[in-house]
């Protein structure tokens, strides 16, 4: 699948949905523009430009097209996915376990999962970074961090 074709179809759909939403909001008149006036102009532009990009993919030579799979070729994309999943996990435990424990676990998981860092080194970096962040945020910037089961 040609990458630009896929992305332009996506934006075209978004644009069309936004046109529908804008019209529903009420466009008003030029004298008294409604809530949907500028959103309609923006979504019309999105749709027309997306259509333009889509047409370009049919007019350009096949050689100049990048395929969907080529965007990830030669890259370690699983690492990006891993980082996302770990961060989602972090947000799930952040308030329950508290800042200190959840942040240490988060950093450990990232450090160990991304490179083969020794356990001791990873533990040291995670605990030290968490401690420094805690001090900076709690005392210097007076942020309220979740305390969780450990009480800090």
């Amino acid at each position: 699948m040609v990458a630009d074709r896929l992305s332009s179809v996506f934006w075209l759909v978004i644009g069309l949905i936004a046109i529908y939403g804008s019209v529903k909001l009420g466009i008003g008149s030029a004298r008294e523009p409604g809530s949907g006036f500028l959103p309609l102009l923006a979504s019309l532009s999105i749709s027309l430009i997306a259509l333009g990009i889509l047409l370009q993919t049919f007019l350009k030579t096949a050689k100049s097209h990048r395929t969907f799979s080529s965007l990830w070729q030669g890259l370690r994309w699983k690492r990006s996915l891993y980082v996302c999943l770990i961060t989602v996990g972090y947000t799930l435990i952040f308030e329950k376990l508290g800042f200190a424990l959840s942040t240490s676990i988060f950093l450990m998981a990232l450090l160990k999962g991304m490179e083969s860092i020794a356990w001791g080194k990873a533990l040291l970096i995670s605990v030290l970074s968490t401690g420094l962040c805690y001090l900076l945020l709690s005392f210097s910037l007076e942020s309220t961090l979740p305390k969780g089961i450990l009480g800090f």
Binding site: G26, A30, E32, L38, S45, S80
Partner: protein, 501 residues
């Protein structure tokens, strides 16, 4: 007389201990970010924005501004030493800077980059101080149609200068405007595109959006790449340029300063454009153009001066018109808004501490940067050796905490992550996030200006074409858009961008 009284106000605000301290923190972090390839100033400023929540507004803006112009200084270090620009405005410095390093002249290259940056930065601040009051006077005469047209021009210039497809950049600007519309309509009170989610009633948060699109997406894009950085242990000596070096560089610094400053003022322009144009002009006007690309010191002095002068110039539209000329200034607008301050022509009158404090702090910031970048060069080289596998988790941690600490809400963190993934995919498909962010900030301002203009003219769109400033802005925007779609010019532009990247 006004100049000196303004100067005294500027220094008195900037000289307060807190402001001096946070100015130092800002320029230090800016240099650090400039030195570290993989994290640009936009991403870094968005990540560090939450640090300013508890600060007084003037201190917050002083620190954020410090990060911005500090990054311009730091970017040259990696360009010269390892041939990798720390940020986009230093791309051109790699051409001659790294050649000088290979010839054993890393010291003078780093030295002239720092001195050129200092001279240009200081001249830029003088220009900013001189031009701001008359610009405010002009800005006060701006009505809604002028504001609307100027914002259109800013968006068009930004998309014109985009490194990828103009069509995609324009599309992103449209998406940014649309995202800026989410929430309650200020005039009718109607909820727009909230999808029934109460959180969206206040609109999409600026912090989760910019941290996600600029910060998290940068981390996600970088972790999948294999980044090799070889920091050669070449001794760095003779940081002070010789008399011959000064002789070759002095006009390049001056030309770069003037050019950079005015290109910085241009909406949509900024440091990147300034550095490229300054280099091109220096090469074209040189009696020995063949030296360029082979270690010509002017090839370092001109772009480094231009990008620092542009950093000062970019503050003019922000401080006088309340319009961000680039995405970094959009983040600064965000910082002002978070502190409940409306940027615009009244800023100088209503908040002189912010207006003059920022300008005054830049004088001190430039001196601090000179001290940070010359004697401490060894420290920055050592920082370059920190592996990315350690840096990226820490950057991500700052993003999560930053998004959380705005409202102490995990929903904001999830929003940031969502925008991070969207930003990552946008980068994959060659959609740049900068026009989206700028349009997101400008969207609500544009809508207000458009509505007010139409009410003023009783529904007539001709109001935009009958006022000289407004029609001037729209004409330039139209010419830029038209020329960007002329096939021969499109090819030329693509060639230039190919060379740049």
């Amino acid at each position: 007389m006004d100049f000196f009284s303004n100067f005294a106000t500027a220094l008195s605000v900037a000289f307060q201990v807190d402001n001096l301290f946070y100015c130092f923190v800002g320029v230090f972090l800016g240099t650090l970010i400039g030195v570290l390839p993989g994290l640009g100033p936009a991403g870094a400023m968005s990540i560090l924005l939450p640090l300013t929540f508890k600060m007084p507004a003037a201190t917050a803006i002083i620190m954020m501004a410090g990060i911005y112009y500090g990054a311009m200084y730091g970017g040259s270090t990696t360009s010269i030493l390892i041939n990798i620009p720390g940020e986009a405005a230093s791309v051109v410095t790699t051409i001659d800077g790294h050649q000088m390093a290979l010839q054993g002249r890393a010291g003078p290259a780093l030295g002239i980059a720092a001195f050129g940056s200092f001279i240009a930065g200081t001249l830029g601040i003088v220009g900013l101080q001189l031009l701001s009051p008359p610009m405010v006077a002009i800005a006060l005469r701006f009505g809604p149609p002028e504001y609307f047209s100027l914002m259109i021009l800013g968006l068009v210039i930004l998309t014109y200068l985009t490194q990828k497809s103009i069509l995609k950049a324009l599309l992103m600007a449209g998406v940014g405007i649309l995202l800026g519309m989410v929430g309650l309509d200020n005039i009718t009170g109607k909820p727009r595109f909230t999808m029934g989610i109460p959180k969206f009633m206040d609109g999409i948060g600026l912090i989760p959006l910019i941290m996600g699109l600029l910060g998290v997406s940068e981390v996600l894009s970088n972790v999948e790449k294999r980044i090799y950085r070889e920091v050669k242990k070449t001794p760095i000596h003779h940081l002070l340029p010789s008399r011959k070096d000064w002789g070759q560089s002095k006009w390049a610094i001056l030309r770069g300063s003037v050019l950079g400053f005015f290109l910085g003022i241009l909406p949509g322009g900024g440091a990147i454009l300034a550095s490229f144009v300054a280099y091109a002009i220096e090469k074209r006007t040189s009696r020995t153009p063949e030296r360029f690309g082979k270690g010509a010191i002017e090839g370092v002095a001109a772009p480094e001066s231009a990008n620092n002068a542009a950093a000062s110039g970019a503050f003019i539209p922000l401080l006088t018109l309340g319009i961000p000329s680039n995405v970094l200034m959009a983040i600064l607008i965000g910082a002002l808004m978070i502190h409940g301050i409306n940027p615009g022509p009244m800023l100088m009158k209503e908040h002189p501490d912010i207006f003059w404090g920022v300008i005054g702090s830049m004088y001190f910031g430039n001196v601090m940067l000179l001290a940070l970048n010359l004697p401490l060069i060894g420290l920055w080289v050592r920082i370059l050796r920190i592996p990315h596998s350690i840096l990226f988790p820490l950057i991500l941690l700052f993003c999560v905490i930053g998004a959380y600490s705005e409202n102490y809400s995990v929903i904001d963190v999830n929003m940031m992550l969502l925008f991070g993934v969207i930003g990552y995919l946008m980068r994959k498909f060659d959609y740049e996030p900068a026009p989206l962010v700028l349009a997101f900030v400008l969207g609500p301002l544009m809508e207000t200006a458009l509505r007010q203009s139409l009410i003023m003219s009783d529904g007539g769109f001709m109001i935009f074409f009958t006022r000289s400033i407004s029609i001037g802005c729209l004409l330039v925007a139209a010419v830029l858009l038209l020329t960007s779609f002329i096939p021969s010019l499109m090819k030329k532009r693509e060639l230039v961008l190919e060379k740049e990247t």
